[in-house]
Symmetry: C2
Subunit: 442 residues, 2 copies
């Protein structure tokens, strides 16, 4: 690129038409001049050939993505991860903020993804590794999206739970258990104190446990549990399936008494979720399969918070995400960033409930709560409830007892002296993890 070519892909943050642009933060590693690499990154994701041959025109002022800030982080002898057919020489790591004119595609998730993490950024001259770190939407763009239909407030209203975390449980065994005993387990967990009993993300409309039969049984059991306990309950049914079956499965499940629906966001597609959002009568809950495949590594792919923001934009009321602890191979910062992506202000888009999960049980609740320093989260054990020695009812009770102790400022081990379910959980799943210091409020 010539000097003039480069200048067409730069903009001054002070004079930028903020409402007309998405802001994109990328990390990248490049050969050669980082300024030129950043300009290529802009040109490849917008208008790489900005004039016709033999015509005096320039599409860049209106249609080009443009560099707002570029920071060179360091130099290194090679890319952080080996890349096929790489050129040779010093590698520079950089962080860039780009303004991308959303008129290029409009308020459409597939077209947004195609531009900001498509062929342009990932096949850019000189850039061997790249990660889309974050995305910021102006209000004019957000205004075209419906976002969560119920959100955190709507879910709390439905459950009549306002001052504590929401307690989920994944009914186990997840694969192979026929609908009747599956239903018995869910029913017992509600009686024990769970708010939401849910299908595993891998259990959907299988021949040996059809969605119709499962929702018929669990829907009725959910109503019995509500009568018995006197409090609202949710059966969260997994309707993850081919896109052209989603609306029909929604209707079957909801008519049968499922009063929230699970969808695996990326496998079904964020745009299909947006379609379902326009149809749904109950809260929608997203689960995280496939996201780690492009988000786990520090220096390549797409950061998980980008997908969390898009899940919220698409209309999920709840987003289940990898939680704290080494089991989920996700750093504490990343978990907090995803929680913030659910709860932070986002134009007129409602907050959705973050559910950071992974091998949880009564003893891990306090750690999650202390790290987040809010009650606006969901807690989702699997075996911690359904593998409890006293059964799902005892497992659910152990979770509620753990929260009672936390809310009352009583050490868990002390509370366990009078609460056999909590005692049993500690014996079976312990020892208790160390509790991290409380964070300053977000």
């Amino acid at each position: 690129m010539t000097h003039d070519d480069l200048a067409g892909f730069q903009a001054d943050p002070k004079t930028l038409d903020r409402e007309g642009h998405l802001l994109l933060d990328y990390y990248f590693e490049c050969h050669g001049d980082p300024n030129e690499a950043a300009a290529h990154l802009c040109s490849e994701q917008s208008t790489a050939q900005w004039r016709r041959i033999g015509v005096d025109e320039d599409f860049r002022p209106v249609f080009a993505a443009k560099v707002l800030e570029l920071e060179i982080l360091g130099e290194q002898p090679d890319f952080s991860y080996p890349v096929a057919l790489k050129p040779r020489g010093t590698v520079r790591s950089c962080r860039v903020r780009i303004a991308h004119p959303h008129r290029n595609f409009g308020p459409r998730i597939p077209n947004l993804l195609s531009a900001v993490c498509g062929e342009g950024p990932f096949f850019c001259p000189g850039i061997g590794l790249i990660k889309l770190l974050d995305i910021h939407f102006p209000a004019s763009f957000l205004a075209h999206f419906e976002g969560p239909k119920f959100g955190v407030a709507g879910l709390r209203e439905q459950l009549q739970v306002f001052d504590r975390p929401i307690f989920f449980g994944v009914i186990k065994p997840n694969i192979g258990l026929p609908p009747e005993p599956f239903c018995e387990a869910g029913y017992a967990s509600w009686l024990g104190g769970l708010d939401i009993a849910k299908d595993d993300e891998m259990l959907a409309d299988a021949e040996w446990s059809t969605l119709a039969e499962r929702t018929r049984l669990l829907g009725a059991a959910r109503r019995r549990a509500e009568q018995e306990t006197g409090v609202p309950k949710i059966y969260l049914a997994n309707i993850t399936d081919e896109v052209d079956r989603l609306l029909a499965l929604h209707d079957v499940a909801v008519d049968n008494g499922a009063n929230a629906l699970l969808v695996n966001a990326m496998p079904v597609g964020l745009s299909a979720v947006r379609m379902l959002r326009r149809h749904t009568r109950v809260p929608l809950v997203g689960h995280f399969p496939f996201i780690a495949a492009f988000s786990r590594l520090a220096h390549f792919g797409v950061h998980s918070r980008v997908i969390t923001k898009l899940q919220r934009l698409a209309g999920f009321d709840v987003v289940i995400m990898p939680g704290f602890g080494s089991r989920m191979m996700t750093g504490d910062d990343e978990v907090r960033q995803n929680v913030a992506a659910c709860l932070d202000e986002m134009g007129g888009i409602k907050p959705c409930l973050p559910v950071p999960g992974g091998s949880d049980w009564a003893g891990t609740l306090e750690g999650v709560y202390r790290r987040l320093d809010t009650v606006d989260f969901g807690f989702v054990p699997g075996r911690g409830v359904f593998g409890h020695p006293m059964g799902p009812r005892g497992g659910a009770a152990s979770i509620r007892q753990a929260w009672d102790a936390i809310a009352s400022g009583i050490p868990l081990t002390e509370h366990a002296e009078t609460q056999p379910e909590l005692r049993s959980a500690i014996d079976a799943f312990g020892p208790l993890p160390g509790t991290p210091p409380q964070q300053s409020p977000r």
Copy 2:
């Protein structure tokens, strides 16, 4: 896991019910015993809690994924790429073949993705890095999929081109050019000899170039070009958009004369493509945004050929993919594997046309052809046609002249002596790349 626990996740390839299982090939890096890691990989993607508490049952014989073969490739001091919160100690790299019972989810793409590249494989105890390398489907599973409606043979029939590659061109400038001059460029490229003039993957239904207006103009121009040249032409319109607009956009575009449709597979979602396949009246063409974000690195993510196979299964008649050369950061082997995934036998599923692309022009055609050793591919220049000094008509002519030379066994430089468009292409885009030796037939 105990020895008995491990045994429940192993199977003998000789006695396996082949029709009941998908075969999955993974690369992984783990701490500890690779046999135990492989068993966890099976349990996490199927039935990790295979019995209820206090009940004498075992779901594994019917529902567990099982290890068929495990090869330990080597030992290394750490993971190939740093992983958050990793345990310490020697890392072993392994390759495993797993049999996954498809009864767990049935012939559904989102549920397949959730199981084979979801939470199970990517959050597996002991396994810090993993890549799904390949997937093999039994005929009983494939029988539930429609696959391409037209396939390679149908596309050749439509174009009446049987003995050479199919020549595509991406109309440029891709972003910002209004419909009228955009149409003029496409029309000129057809007159010059292009089979298929296409929208860029980032150009869809934008306010400044609506799909309705663009397809109306290009559809009419396509018919004029057919009359003028006497041969069939295709206008490939990009209908990538929100899922609930796909079928309506199909109807608008096809009614207006677009006679093939482009969809960005991953941004829209493979399942939405399958929905569109059931509706379409014209060939469907897949483009590759977002795939590199999880496929580029050797030791993490999902191999691109898995997605190519799924694109074919979902019903694409044509799959555009990163092609040869350092520009596309994709090794020759990977390009060939993706081409094979389009053309190889796959039960009753028709072959689809592979289009390995990236910064092509007349001079790169021979290299692609020699590497593939088949005429069953598409060639898709952008600026190589639309940035040609003699305009799109000259650019298209230069591609056809290059093929004439190759088919006649004449060196390109020799043919260029009598063909000014080819001569001009070499002057503008050259020098000619070195031609690789011909491969042995696939």
